[in-house]
Symmetry: C2
Subunit: 245 residues, 2 copies
């Protein structure tokens, strides 16, 4: 049986403040937990019911990991899902330093993307297109929010997130900064890129003035119909599909 | 003051069964209602508080339209929004027949897309890329669901939706049918298309066997990273961006 303190600790990780002070977050379901086990993230503790089938290839690693077998009732106390599913892991937030260089590849920067659903979808899209690093302004929704973690469907385990002073970071970048805006030149006139950081802005305000100033280029998805705008994650997908080709 | 029957009627339009028997749906907020006023849809009745500013250019049309000025309390009774916003319209479901031909342009077909959020996002994306017709299997989520109407942000007023026996319709099509699948040839090897119907499948099952059989081509977005899949709406956006270029 789980102690009250453990339940309280795990529940506290639904709040950004406590995630930051503990440097930990939670991930759920066999599929998502497996992706983290198979990554450079450090899984600190696994809480599983007896129904959980630990993946064979992790048996060795798992023998070093604290695993607590709990009841379905206990899992329901700590789960954030409507239908808890066998396993919940407490995972250390990666303290990976931003890479010394992002030359030779395409990276993403999120400048105040505020909707957790958008951040989750963007992480999944980035993972699909092989983006390794996502740099986020401190105003960007927290990727370790349990809703975002589950929405990425395990992709959060494959990309590196860096919450940082975005303007300062981009200023010192050794690759081109490309701002996605509503009045840049056409994306379709731009050949696929070897390298660069693609900046996605806030859902309503777009990219902030100071970040536009450190950008070398502005690109736009030309509108052919009447819709007023595209969702931020949808726009990110179109840019990555075209530029990382 | 609204009669109990009127309130009951408008509330009934949140259910697909009653929308179908009444051939009507609701749209809310000044922005979305204005898009419908400015379209071929027939707006049947407008319920507005005295705060609603009817757009100037509709004054003439509006003089023929039944408008009922209601209180904020009445608006709250009939609204589906957390924060009702000045106006709600009851609009006739378009009974536009599928066009005789879809030659010379790109159209969409939805084969069992089940999530209302995805259908709403796809309508907005289609509108951005100038798609005029979307053909939906009867298993596809209903676009006149109030949540979908609002999610399209007015784009539902710009595209024609046709719920139909999709297999039968596609069989008689006079343009190429392109299925979006996980094991077709690469989208990036395909030049932009002059015409065709692009089929988007169900979120988990993909495109049904019978629809695959009437398709002339299968196209895939090649994966460059590790994510298992892309969201259906995100995939639709990438296909349309590339093919309708």
């Amino acid at each position: 049986m789980l102690s009250r303190n453990t339940v309280k600790y795990i529940q506290s990780l639904t709040h950004k403040k406590f995630r930051n002070s503990s440097s930990a977050f939670i991930a759920e379901t066999p599929k998502v937990v497996e992706e983290f086990l198979n990554s450079s993230f450090r899984v600190e503790h696994i809480y599983a019911t007896e129904h959980w089938q630990a993946p064979d290839k992790y048996d060795k690693e798992l023998s070093h990991l604290p695993i607590t077998i709990i009841t379905q009732a206990d899992l329901e106390k700590i789960s954030q899902l409507k239908t808890p599913h066998d396993v919940l892991a407490v995972i250390r937030i990666s303290d990976a330093q931003p890479p010394a260089t992002v030359k030779g590849k395409i990276s993403l920067a999120l400048d105040g993307v505020q909707d957790p659903g958008n951040v989750g979808t963007i992480i999944r899209i980035a993972d699909w297109f092989g983006v390794e690093d996502i740099f986020c302004s401190r105003e960007t929704a927290d990727a370790y929010n349990p809703k975002v973690v589950q929405a990425t469907m395990g992709s959060l385990a494959h990309v590196r997130l860096h919450y940082t002073d975005l303007e300062k970071f981009l200023k010192t970048s050794d690759v081109e900064i490309i701002a996605t805006t509503l009045n840049g030149s056409s994306l379709y006139d731009c050949a696929p890129l070897q390298e660069g950081i693609l900046v996605i802005g806030n859902e309503s305000a777009g990219i902030s003035e100071s970040i536009l100033e450190v950008s070398q280029r502005q690109l736009t998805i030309p509108r052919r119909g009447k819709a007023e705008s595209l969702n931020a994650a949808v726009a990110a997908a179109i840019f990555l599909s075209h530029l990382s080709g």
